[in-house]
């Protein structure tokens, strides 16, 4: 943090204060400030900031605007389900509650610009006004004129206003067909490993030394850095796992300086965390409970862990899986007892180069599903209504997907929508060796 923030238009002490609030982002803030210029000077009509998730785009923007007390409105597109909400929010932040109530019920862009123009001379701020729009990629799904209007808002309302768009997607994916006013692009680079280490080390635990915490962060980054560079995610993981890291210290087994032993203790836990908490297979509360109880298998959030199906449904699902992943011409070989003489070499010669487990499930008709079902299930089952209703309940559970329209009653087609691991687990519960019946694994 050697570089300091400097701009002649602002109070030096305040800038110092601002710079302290944004570690590793001083260079970007400086570039932004110099683009914004002094408070009364015009700034470029629209600026497009892009960079990866949690690289401090919103943070830098909001700290700058708030600490320097510049008139601004900060809107997140996620919150604005309609353009009306966005307009209301902007007017409220810039001009106070009265003008925003002037908006008609479902305001058009024309209304917004009209009211803005009316209000401008009434509250003559000679400072530049800023409108910051977060998650700007969602603007593309809103009114098609909204983005071009925002980009040239300065010209349309004839006021000293700058619109700043924040997004993690590049500008090229935004440009409308007939073109528009091109914003000034500014890139927020990702944090380097050193930066991450520095930022994460700041939220240390009060009862432990800074060196210990920074050693912990080092270990954490060693495991997760190659997978994830999202600061927020890493911070979450650090908060969850720190107590486990400190356990041997509390028990007095290890001294603080013995980092190797601490590493040996924590590393398997972090590896486990990557399979569970990182993927949101278990919630963070469950993860903490699990850590305390040490009772290995805990049911997670994901469906894999706890699907209970009726007996025939399981076989139906197995049959569906086989029908989806085996070519129809091999059914004879798998499910007929006396399938005549087929030369084994010929049969095993794979015609397709890539296996079905690469290409995904193929659709199959209901007849084939039932035929395979009768041959795999070990008792005789009558084709009753209960079997058919179980098929439709599998569709409802989204374990099967029905293709085409629902109203197709004769010969509907299905696809199996479960993964190999899942079906293996299911078939293990009914003692059925599914791998023996899969063409890809012959």
């Amino acid at each position: 943090m050697t570089a300091s923030l400097q701009h002649p238009g602002y109070d030096q002490q305040r800038l110092q204060h601002v710079a302290e609030k944004m570690p590793c982002r001083v260079a970007q803030a400086g570039a932004l400030l110099s683009l914004m210029g002094e408070v009364t000077q015009y700034s470029y009509p629209s600026i497009f900031l892009y960079g990866h998730r949690s690289t401090g785009k919103s943070h830098v923007m909001s700290v700058l605007l708030k600490e320097l007390e510049l008139p601004h409105a900060m809107v997140s597109c996620v919150e604005c389900v309609s353009v009306g909400l966005m307009f209301k929010h902007v007017l409220l932040a810039l001009f106070g509650p009265d003008p925003s109530s002037l908006l008609p019920r479902s305001p058009s862009l024309s209304d917004f610009v009209r009211i803005y123009r009316q209000q401008c001379p009434l509250s003559p701020a000679n400072q530049t006004r800023y409108i910051v729009i977060e998650k700007a990629e969602l603007l593309r799904d809103m009114d098609s004129n909204l983005l071009p209007v925002l980009l040239r808002l300065q010209e349309l309302v004839d006021d000293n206003v700058t619109v700043i768009l924040l997004s993690e997607i590049v500008w090229d994916r935004f440009r409308p067909n007939t073109g528009c006013f091109e914003p000034l692009l500014l890139y927020f680079p990702d944090y380097s490993k050193g930066d991450l280490q520095q930022i994460l080390s700041q939220d240390l635990h009060p009862s432990y030394s800074a060196e210990l915490y920074s050693a912990f962060i080092n270990i954490l980054l060693g495991v997760f850095y190659s997978v994830c560079r999202d600061l927020r995610e890493l911070r979450h993981l650090a908060a969850l796992n720190f107590s486990k890291f400190c356990e041997p210290l509390k028990e007095g087994k290890v001294k603080e300086s013995d980092t190797h032993k601490l590493w040996r203790n924590i590393e398997p836990h972090l590896k486990k965390a990557m399979q569970t908490v990182y993927l949101r297979e278990v919630s963070s509360v469950q993860w903490e409970e699990q850590e305390q109880e040490e009772s290995g298998a805990l049911k997670g959030l994901s469906a894999h862990a706890h699907v209970e199906l009726p007996y025939y449904s399981k076989y139906l699902l197995i049959a569906a899986y086989l029908a989806s992943y085996n070519p129809a011409r091999t059914d004879r070989r798998f499910f007929l007892k006396h399938h005549g003489k087929i030369r084994k070499t010929n049969f095993l010669k794979k015609h397709e180069k890539t296996s079905n487990h690469l290409l995904g499930p193929k659709p199959f008709p209901l007849d084939r599903l039932l035929a395979i079902f009768y041959s795999v299930v070990d008792s005789r089952v009558a084709p009753s209504a209960s079997i058919f209703s179980q098929i439709s309940s599998l569709v409802t559970l989204q374990l099967l997907t029905q293709l085409g329209h629902d109203d197709q009653l004769d010969a509907p087609k299905y696809k199996c929508a479960v993964a190999l691991d899942f079906i293996r687990a299911i078939s293990r519960t009914v003692n059925f060796d599914i791998v023996k019946y899969l063409y890809d694994f012959l």
């Binding site: 002649p8 570039a31 110099s34 683009l35 210029g37 002094e38 000077q41 015009y42 700034s43 470029y44 009509p45 892009y50 960079g51 990866h52 690289t55 058009s108 862009l109 024309s110 610009v113 009209r114 009114d143 004129n145 071009p148 209007v149 300065q154 010209e155 349309l156 000293n160 997607i169 590049v170 090229d172 994916r173 007939t178 073109g179 528009c180 006013f181 091109e182 000034l184 890139y187 680079p189 990702d190 490993k193 850095y225 190659s226 997978v227 994830c228 560079r229 399979q275 990182y278 993927l279 297979e281 890539t354 690469l358 290409l359 995904g360 499930p361 997907t401 696809k415 929508a417 993964a419």
Partner: protein
Amino acid sequence: MSKRKAKDSQMPIGECISQVQTLLRERLCHQQLPQRPEGVDSQHKHLLELLKRTALHGESNSVLIIGPRGTGKTLLLRCVLAELLAEEDIHKTLLQVHLNGLLQTDDRIALKEITRQLSLENVVGDQVFGSFAENLTFLLEALKKGDRSSSRPVLFILDEFDLFAHHKNQTLLYNLLDVSQSAQTPVAVVGLTCRLDVLELLEKRVKSRFSHRQIHLLRSLSFSQYLQAVQAQLHLPDASFPDSTFCHDWNASVKALCEDKSVEEVLLRHFNSTKDFRSLHRLLMASLSRVSVSNPTIKPADLLDASRLFSADAMTNVLHGLSILELCLVIAMKHLNDIYDGEPFNLQMVYNEFKRFLQRKSNSMYNFDLPVVMKAFEHLQQLEVVRPVDAAAARAQREYQLVRLMLDHSQIMEALQRYPQCPTDVKQWAASAFG
């Protein structure tokens, strides 16, 4: 010399810089009107004559100003208007209605806006219009009551004219152009558009009422003119700038800047890609923002940096911030693209390719499970580095959803070059699928 010094108040350098910034920012960001638009003299004269005839002699007219974005259509119009309004009697009589296709998205809104801008609200006031048609007839009546000699001329300016053609039945355009054809209230309709094929969008009945006057603005600038324009944009006015010595120094430095070989090269590259003045403003603005007390002039290096900033490939920047796992997936996708000749692929195929790479390496430090890989893949999808082939397939299982890579070969290789601490084996793998 001493006399001159006595006349000028010497300002501290900080204040001078601040003055420069204020002045030039207004020029670059706010599109301040120049004295006279350059290189469009004939168009300027044509438009001025046309509007003058409406304003003074009550002649109705319609005209389209057509040109690519950033060629100065609005600028031309605003210059002409400023010149028109400078005349006393025109200033008193001429009414203006500004509409923008981006804002007035349908005819009802447009009509409301016209009423408002003609200050007819109080006339309309208590009348409640049942329908669009009624409102329109009222307005048209108001327009039709007048004749050529006695009523005030109205100037309709339709920005983004092509968007008005998408309105239902093109009612507004039809009526406006109809009024402009008949000897009623003098009306001039000026449309601005960047679409060269705009006449094809008009319905037959609308087209036949249009005068077919078109003013084309196509920049036919030579490079030396372009350079002069750059210099003019950065030039400080000698007369009005408070500190003349600073002003002199600045102007000299701008002149030197434009004569610099490397700057000329950058500008030539810029000129060859676009003659658009907006993008030039963008470039100059980025270099102007670096001017400060410690760096009181625009140096060639500033301009070079600014141009590098704009020519930098955004996708390469994004790739720089990916984790190793995500980068590996991108490389695997690149190989799949090579093998299958740009056919779409799914996550399973990518994962398979990635595993093949891991098998060749003895150390398996990137041995991740499919769910972890899937999370990385989804992140790539959010960044729109990969895109699903069709939205309908979104119902398929995520690992089998067909996607396409939205990068080309050179972008990936460039990103790899710049990637911090990229492992050698990954680099080799990127260079050849069997590395």
